[in-house]
């Protein structure tokens, strides 16, 4: 509608209108900006305050967290919660378990799923449509539909209660995710380099790994970070399959720290800080450096 109006208003008429409306328009823009800024400030507060509160609580003493008036910063700065968590509980070991599972699954998944994303992005082959539909379907299938069947599968394989069992079932969500998310990253890469490589006698396999893989690396790295984060924080599968303290990943161990009416919130928040802050840092660094990047300048003019 607006575009049609815009076409009607040409030349002189347009200039005149601009003069008339300018002051009013300026006010309006300033108003919009003010609303936008206010909203940003409020959202920043709402988004960050809980994170601040988590960090704040983790440095308090048990006495202070239950003080009558909650304190905005730790009046007695204490590392007691961290000391207890690291020395007296299984938390560190569980973080190690989570790390192993997340790394193993992410690497395995990218190796298997990258070719799928490549073929779906680049090649016309028979059955492609059905195949891409199947991948998308599996990507959208929620974990809650699968957790009991997967528990039965691991029980049959005698893989319940070991982190390797989780390493077997986590790819059910990471593989379809990677195959699907990488498609646009690969599709954005110019075809010219590939065609040149093929003229030079590269096989499809070589083009896929030697030419396209490095160019898609920014996308692959950010996808891997998300894949890692998915496995790192996964709770339901871990809860259902891991029963012994030795094998549990950190989400299950954290949920075991809650007992009674007055849980040790400083320890729980210390655990949340240790498990959450590394992810925030990695993600923030990655989102800053990985956007844009390598593909520019690959093909000259």
């Amino acid at each position: 509608m607006m575009t049609r109006k815009r076409e009607n208003m040409q030349g002189k008429e347009r200039k005149k209108a601009k003069g008339h409306k300018r002051r009013k328009q300026g006010n309006k823009i300033r108003m919009t900006e003010a609303i936008g800024r206010t909203y940003i400030v409020i959202s920043l507060f709402v988004s960050l305050f809980p994170v601040y509160w988590m960090i704040n609580t983790s440095f308090k003493t048990e006495y202070e967290i239950y003080a009558k008036t909650p304190t905005l910063y730790p009046h007695t700065f204490s590392l007691e919660a961290y000391r207890y968590l690291l020395k007296e509980t299984n938390f560190m070991h569980s973080m190690q378990n989570s790390l192993i599972v997340a790394v193993v699954v992410s690497v395995f998944s990218i190796l298997i799923a990258y070719p799928v994303a490549y073929t779906l992005a680049r090649l016309a082959f028979r059955g492609r449509k059905v195949f891409s539909k199947a991948v998308l379907f599996m990507y959208l299938l929620p974990t809650s539909v699968l957790y009991i069947p997967l528990y039965m599968l691991l029980a049959k394989l005698h893989l319940t209660n070991t982190i390797w069992g989780l390493a077997v079932i986590y790819p059910t969500f990471t593989l379809p995710y990677i195959s699907w998310i990488l498609i646009p990253h690969i599709a954005d890469i110019s075809r010219e380099l590939e065609e040149a490589a093929e003229v030079d006698g590269c096989t499809k396999l070589q083009t896929m790994y030697r030419i396209v893989f490095p160019l898609a690396l920014p996308g692959i790295v950010s996808t891997m970070i998300f894949t890692f984060a998915m496995c790192w924080g996964e709770y339901l599968y871990a809860l259902v399959n891991l029963t012994s303290l030795e094998e549990q990943t950190f989400p299950v161990v954290i949920s075991g720290l809650i007992f009674g009416d007055m849980p040790p919130w400083n320890q729980l928040m210390a655990a949340a800080v240790l498990a959450g802050i590394p992810i925030i840092i990695v993600y923030t660094l990655a989102s800053g450096t990985l956007v844009g990047g390598k593909t520019a300048g690959g093909v000259k003019g």
């Binding site: 509160w53 539909k133 998308l136 039965m152 993600y283």
Partner: protein, 292 residues
């Protein structure tokens, strides 16, 4: 040309074989097996005996199950509506240019990057009846004069789970919509300004038609995730008070893992399948535009 397609096909199947075999064995097979098990009396550690539709009859006859479905619908509808609106505001606000915009964007993404379990415990502590900051803030603002028992009443408990879900989920809507907003040409807005369009008119006639698709897409995806939400509710309210926030998956977990009735637990998921299939079908159509 034809031989080329044949070659492509051969290559594609060769390199895609590992994924097909793996997911066939670990995803498709267990899913089909599980669906079969929903027609049996399979218990943890027990053998399965065919019982026909008994699990389904028992479920539909169970008021607790029916309530869990109502709770799921309530929780999902509320969460999605709020996430849509707040995500839209977030995208519109971030679409204006100002200094430090990228930093602000990264900071607003933080809730989305945190592991859900961390988020849930964070809110559980904020809403805690003893030492919780939520009551303290509301009291200092004189909005309440007595402590609220957040997990003690149906309405407030639903509020807390929606808050935790919305807090973590809004950035997803925000960045999805923002990505689309950034592709809208500034010319449209300039032309609208000349015509003296109001802020609302500009949103209604320029912005909204452009971002409608991506908003619906995000909402559909988020709906699938939210219907199947488990830990937010399980760890925040445990489904309480008195089952007032017990959603479908908390019910399924209790049935399968606490009462050990695996077959019936799967039946819960199977009964949700038609709705999930509908949502997935809609999404597939939107995400895979007809090719050639």
């Amino acid at each position: 040309m034809r031989s080329r397609e044949a070659k492509n096909t051969k290559f594609a199947y060769k390199v895609n074989l590992p994924l097909m075999v793996f997911l066939g064995a670990v995803l498709v097979f267990p899913l089909v097996w599980g669906i079969c098990m929903s027609f049996t009396n399979k218990m943890i550690g027990g053998d399965a005996r065919f019982t026909g539709l008994k699990n389904y009859e028992k479920l539909i006859g169970d008021p607790e199950y029916r309530r869990s479905i109502v709770n799921t619908v309530k929780f999902t509808a509320l969460s999605i509506a709020v996430k849509c609106v707040l995500g839209m505001f977030m995208a519109l606000a971030l679409n204006q240019s100002f200094r430090g915009r990228n930093a602000v964007r990264a900071l607003l993404m933080i809730p989305w990057t945190l592991p859900n379990i961390v988020v849930v415990y964070n809110w559980r502590w904020i809403f805690s009846p003893s030492g919780g900051i939520a009551n303290h803030i509301l009291k200092s603002l004189h909005l309440i004069d007595r402590d609220l028992v957040w997990f003690g009443s149906a309405g407030l408990a639903l509020f807390t789970v929606v808050v935790a879900n919305v807090w973590r989920g809004t950035p997803f809507f925000g960045v999805s919509i923002l990505a689309k907003l950034q592709t809208i040409s500034k010319d449209y807005y300039e032309a609208a300004d000349i015509d003296g369009a109001s802020l609302f008119q500009k949103f209604r006639y320029i912005t909204f038609p452009e971002v409608k698709d991506v908003t619906v897409l995000s909402a559909l995806m988020s709906t699938i995730w939210t219907i199947n939400e488990f830990e937010t509710i399980y760890l925040l309210t445990g489904g309480g008070p008195n089952g007032a926030t017990e959603v479908m998956n908390v019910y399924s977990y209790k049935t399968a893992m606490r009462s050990m009735m695996l077959g019936r637990g799967i039946a819960v998921a199977v009964l949700a399948m038609p709705v999930l299939m509908l949502l997935i079908g809609l999404l597939t159509r939107k995400m895979l535009p007809e090719e050639k």
